[in-house]
């Protein structure tokens, strides 16, 4: 991956970040993305899904990534989640550059540092709620004896502790998303990444989910990055709003101010 970064031409700013190496290169940020690009080659055309985006997220911050469909906000979220690798640039989390991690390290990062929720919930339909929430614990090789209590604890956070034995198909959309939230929380990550978490829900249920997210953010000090295309939702719950359009970060707006700063 570093070879690819060099090939595409590293900026002086990125060089500085890479030079920070394995220590506290995040400068106190929970996430520090610097000149991150994600380009795809489709035939002769080069698709710039994310183009030279720099972004910092403070610990305990609730950041909304706002943008229209196809703007690149989900791509950026996937890069922050370690599901995808940037074509160039650096994403520093806890002093480590995700772009330089190998697949095993990225898997550990996804398992222990971040939790993810998706628009489509992505619960496994063949498993009960308990088994769905237990899955990240299995992947993190948590001792079997500890799992039941942690699953129950996570489900209590989302008020689903009485639905342990139910399958996703037996739950409402809101309940499914709450179960997905419990699954994201069960490994006690410091960062929660949410991709349109209310996209498949009615407004009342969506609000319920947003309140839960806000609660996690405030009571647990969890850093949250949420992708949404609903400006009012972002305006209401996020501390800052980063607007993405055509793969570029066009503004970062603090909730209390009306001006944009990058």
């Amino acid at each position: 991956m570093p070879a690819r970064i060099k090939k595409l031409g590293a900026s002086p700013a990125r060089s500085t970040i890479e030079g920070l190496g394995m220590s506290s290169g995040d400068n106190g940020f929970a996430i520090h993305a610097d000149n991150v690009s994600r380009h795809y080659q489709m035939g002769a055309a080069l698709i710039r899904a994310i183009d030279d985006v720099s972004l910092q997220v403070r610990p305990g911050e609730f950041l909304a990534l706002l943008g229209s469909s196809g703007s690149g906000k989900s791509t950026l979220l996937n890069l922050l989640a370690g599901l995808d690798r940037p074509t160039s640039g650096a994403i520093i989390v806890r002093g480590r550059n995700l772009a330089e991690m190998d697949t095993h390290e990225l898997a550990r990062y996804r398992s222990l540092t971040v939790g993810m929720v998706f628009q489509a919930f992505n619960l496994l339909p063949r498993m009960t709620l308990e088994e769905n929430v237990e899955l990240p614990l299995r992947l993190a090789e948590v001792e079997r004896a500890d799992r039941a209590s942690r699953v129950r604890e996570a489900l209590e956070h989302v008020h689903l502790e009485k639905r342990l034995a139910h399958r996703p198909s037996e739950l409402s959309g809101g309940e499914q998303q709450r179960a997905a939230l419990a699954r994201a929380l069960v490994n006690r990550p410091t960062i929660l990444l949410a991709d349109e978490p209310t996209g498949n829900l009615d407004s009342a249920t969506g609000e319920e989910i947003m309140l839960l997210l806000k609660n996690f953010n405030q009571s647990m000090g969890m850093t949250i990055v949420m992708v949404t295309h609903e400006h009012p939702l972002a305006e209401r719950f996020a501390d800052r709003i980063a607007t993405v359009a055509d793969g570029k970060l066009i503004s970062v707006t603090a909730k209390s101010s009306s001006g944009a700063h990058s």
Binding site: A81, L83, A107, S111, M116, N122, M127, R138
Partner: protein, 458 residues
């Protein structure tokens, strides 16, 4: 992921597509059954051949002969290794017999006594060969399955007939048991020496056997009670001349002092003062102890022969047969593994999104690979166990069919298919290994899936 979780998830995944996975596993089972049936046939045939040879009592036996040989007189035997040609040849007499009996791990030493006789039964003459049988022949399996009973004593005036000979005597061989026959034979009697006395010290402890200045041949008769009929041929054909068809106790055979072929050799040699044996059979406590005892006897100045080389060749032959049967049997298993590949590739397509979720939740590429490996392994294990059971049943069916066929031919039943534990376990391990190999491509393909694309998959 821990192995327990991996197995649990693999079994859960297999249960979800129960029909497809069952059919694939059935395919593996059929392949394994084919392999087991083929190999069990090879193993069964090998066991059958080994048992037949073992029943001849030859595997723990060493056959000892003197290096004095009428044919090779004056020159070393062709079978004598150069290293032993320096050891002077010795007569195979009673003192040699006693010396060999003292060797470690030797359980029994007895001479081969075979002689030509005329059996008279119902006033009709039947020329045939008679052999003396030691008591140990009763327990070494040589007379297993015989009609009647073994000799009541080591010197009893009793005879056991070989079935073909019994058929010559009577159309109903079993009716012969309990009846008497007359054995007419040529007894060797020593002639007095120049001093008018027969030579002392003889092989059988009787002055009749002393070589002295020569011997005369006197016809004799012995009445014997038929006590049994044997369908096999104990030590048949071994010893260089003819098959014996009447068996009598060895001690009785020695007291008869019947003229044998080697008596003529003693006269020709002239140098021996006592009667020598044509050959001795040395029984060793275990077949594995045959080589050191054989070497010790060779060092005493005798030539030896054991069936070790023969059994080695037999083992090689059956190894080749097993290999060929295994290759043919494996073909069905190879086809079955293609079913595993197909099933797992289908599973990847169906569970693409699930693989994406797994990766998003922290699954490593290795976890995904191991999960698919585990699924292939479980199919191999279940298919292997079911296949071994099926193959065992096929073997039983073949045995049953063979026995029915043999019984119609008035032949004793045999087991031509055998599934020993090592074969069952080995084939199960092989089925798992082949299934894991079949899982290589799907597992690797699943592990390589891009999580972002997999999560987008509908």
């Amino acid at each position: 992921m821990k192995i327990g979780d991996l197995t649990e998830l693999a079994i859960r995944n297999l249960r979800e597509a129960i029909l497809r996975n069952s059919l694939t596993t059935l395919g593996v089972a059929v392949g394994v059954a084919s392999l087991v049936a083929m190999l069990s046939l090879g193993v069964g045939l090998q066991q059958f051949a080994s048992q037949r040879l073992a029943s001849s009592g030859l595997f723990n036996a060493i056959f000892v002969a003197s290096r004095y040989n009428a044919r090779d007189e004056g020159r070393p035997s062709r079978q004598t290794p150069p290293a032993q040609s320096s050891i002077p040849p010795r007569p195979l007499d009673e003192s040699a017999r006693q010396e060999i009996a003292q060797l470690p791990n030797v359980s029994e030493v007895y001479p081969e006594i075979r002689f030509m006789t005329e059996v008279r039964y119902a006033d009709k003459p039947y020329p045939t060969m008679v052999a003396g049988m030691p008591d140990s022949a009763h327990t070494d399996g040589a007379f297993d399955g015989m009609q009647g009973k073994f000799f009541s004593g080591s010197s009893a005036d009793e005879a056991i007939l070989q079935i073909e000979f019994a058929k010559e005597l009577s159309t109903q061989p079993s009716s012969l048991i309990g009846k008497d026959l007359i054995l007419r034979y040529a007894e060797r009697q020593a002639l007095p020496g120049r001093n008018g006395k027969a030579a002392q010290s003889s092989a059988a402890g009787s002055n009749k056997n002393s070589a002295g200045a020569g011997f005369s041949v006197v016809p004799h008769e012995k009445r014997l009670r038929i006590v049994g009929i044997v369908s096999t041929e104990p030590e048949g054909g071994f010893g260089g001349f003819g098959r014996s068809r009447v068996f009598i106790p060895l001690a009785l055979a020695e007291t008869l002092s019947a003229t044998q072929v080697n008596d003529l050799r003693d006269v020709l040699n002239g140098s021996n003062k006592t009667r020598s044996y044509g050959s001795l059979t040395v029984r060793v406590k275990s077949p594995t102890l045959v080589p050191p005892v054989e070497a010790a006897i060779k060092n005493m100045g005798f030539t030896t022969f054991s069936l070790l080389d023969t059994t080695r060749n037999l083992r090689l032959f059956f190894t080749v047969i097993d290999l060929l049967l295994g290759i043919f049997g494996s073909l069905a298993l190879v086809v079955a593994t293609l079913g595993i590949v197909n099933t797992l590739v289908m599973a990847i397509l169906e569970r693409r999104r699930e693989i994406g979720v797994f990766k998003a939740l922290g699954a490593d590429d290795r976890d995904i690979k191991q999960l698919f490996f585990a699924e292939a392994g479980v199919m191999g294990l279940v298919g292997g166990i079911a296949g071994v059971a099926l193959g065992w049943l096929i073997g039983k069916g073949i045995n049953l069919g063979t026995d029915i066929y043999l019984s119609r031919k008035n032949l004793p039943p045999v087991n031509i298919c055998a599934v020993p534990l090592w074969l069952a376990l080995g084939v199960i391990v092989f089925a798992i290994a082949v299934s894991l190999v079949a899982g290589l491509y799907p597992a690797s393909r699943a592990a390589r899936l891009n999580p972002v694309e997999a999560l987008r998959y509908e």
